[in-house]
């Protein structure tokens, strides 16, 4: 079976960790698949939400940072994260958002219906109604019924002053093909079931954003394994984009580089995955530290604010 290309994960900045966890688990019904720390700032969390199977292509991750100022989105950034929900679940999701006091608008995304709203930190999210529900995963909690729940990423929208070069990278490195264009919006897709779409919105002029909560930090694309990651890294290097060395992120291997249009790209391997240090049924239940931080656990646990995520829905 050919490896599916697409978005691996998207990482954004959040404010309060508890508020972030409640929104993504209790309101959107995603599964907290990993509770860890920001490896560059171990006094703060790194929280991973995904679908019930914890597949690559479903991980929306956050660096919550207490008291972070609200960011302002600008050009050179991912400005919208779209999550895929099964066709025919629109009424359900409208009621659910309304019940939780989330204001939304109805949008058309290249012929698909979507609900658009913001998370508590102001990050723009879409729920895109497309495709079918995955089979139910056993021994895992579903806050939203399995046939209505979030399947993973539909895609992401980048707001850029430059299109051609980024398009070339998406195509040559990650097999995204342009499939549609409406005005200043261009849609690129792969054949993956989730995480298959990237939209480039072309801006007339650069807009200087402000870093803060609600801002996407980076977008990661899938590679099958470390070998392929290494090959892709060489290609990126040949293009003069100064990729980092391969960084061991414990659950995957990563390479980072900023594309000329401004977005921080990551390439991440599907292996070894989130079950490398926790049983699948118990993902996200305990604070997991990468091995090199384990000897600082006491201090780290002392600094981190407590977060409580009920495993079962409260509504």
């Amino acid at each position: 079976m050919k490896h599916q290309k697409g978005i691996h994960h998207i990482t954004a900045l959040a404010g309060d960790a508890q508020r972030n966890a409640e929104f993504y688990t209790q309101v959107l019904g995603m599964r907290l698949v990993k509770k860890s720390v920001n490896q560059d700032d171990p006094g703060t969390y790194h929280l991973f939400y995904g679908n019930q199977s914890a597949n690559p292509g479903s991980s929306l991750t956050f660096f919550p940072w207490p008291n972070a100022v609200q960011g302002k989105a600008g050009t050179g950034e991912v400005v919208n994260v779209a999550l895929q929900v099964p066709e025919g679940t629109q009424d359900y999701w409208e009621s659910r958002l309304t019940d939780h006091g989330v204001d939304y608008t109805m949008e058309d995304i290249f012929g698909r219906t979507a609900l658009r709203f913001s998370d508590p930190d102001g990050m723009e999210l879409d729920l895109v109604f497309e495709g079918q529900a995955k089979e139910k995963v056993e021994n895992v909690d579903y806050i939203v019924h399995f046939d209505k729940t979030i399947q993973g990423f539909w895609g992401a929208r980048m707001y850029l002053t430059e299109r051609e070069h980024t398009e070339k990278l998406l195509n040559e490195l990650f097999e995204f093909e342009q499939v549609a264009n409406e005005g200043n919006l261009y849609l690129y897709q792969t054949d993956a079931e989730i995480g298959h779409s990237v939209i480039i919105e072309v801006a007339d002029a650069p807009i200087h954003g402000q870093n803060g909560r609600g801002i996407v930090h980076h977008i990661a694309f899938r590679t099958e394994n470390k070998e392929e990651l290494d090959q892709l890294r060489e290609q990126v290097d040949k293009r003069g984009l100064h990729p980092t060395q391969i960084i061991d992120r414990h659950w995957f291997n990563s390479v980072y580089y900023r594309v000329p249009a401004g977005v921080l790209f990551e390439m991440a391997s599907d292996d070894p995955g989130y079950t490398v240090d926790e049983e699948f049924e118990h993902l996200g239940e305990h604070l997991i530290l990468p091995p090199w931080l384990e000897n600082k656990r006491d201090r780290i646990e002392e600094i981190l604010p407590g977060i409580r995520v009920p495993s079962k829905a409260t509504s």
């Binding site: 900045l13 100022v69 870093n211």
Partner: protein, 222 residues
Amino acid sequence: MSLFRVTEDTNFEGPHQNTLVAETGVPSSEADYAMIMIHGRGASAPSILDLSSAFETDKKITYRAPQANGHTWYPYSFMAPTDRNEPGLSSGLQKIHDIIEELESDGISKDRIFLLGFSQGACLASEFIARHPAKYAGLIALSGGVIGESVDFDQYTGDLQKTPAFLGCSDVDPHIPKERVNETEELLKQLGADVTKKLYPGMGHLVNEDEIKHINALLNSK
């Protein structure tokens, strides 16, 4: 060599330009005053914001704290030749300038903006105010002083227009020689600030109760 000063046209790009800013207190839209709080080496923006919980005032204040990249504003002692502390130093000054600009665009003018710093943050705050004199609501420099191998008084020009400045430090601080605190007082006075200096005998490198009293007095004198 003249001192780097942030102007409308300098967009210094350095290690602190993309770090986050923490905030607490009232939102800037409702605030009468703002305070920019600058943390010390190894500390973090949220941790210096916590100090604001010790303040007693009825003033509506919005607090902002920039985070230094890698938890340090510049690598060496503030007494090292300044070029060794680049680009961190200029990047930090630019960061403070940008927050002031942001607050001004929210309708809070400089004379309603306090700058507070502890340790390395106090050094950065005093250096900022000395290089960019204007009428500020106040400077609170806790265990710090202006930056450089020596203080070149001729390099600094401008008018602080009686900006109240409080300098508090131990007389035997392991990082901050009291001579430098005295020189900081002298420089700020030369620039027209209204300076209160307290050297606490034998105190450690910390913030004490008396300093909090002075901060409260300054906040409530407005």
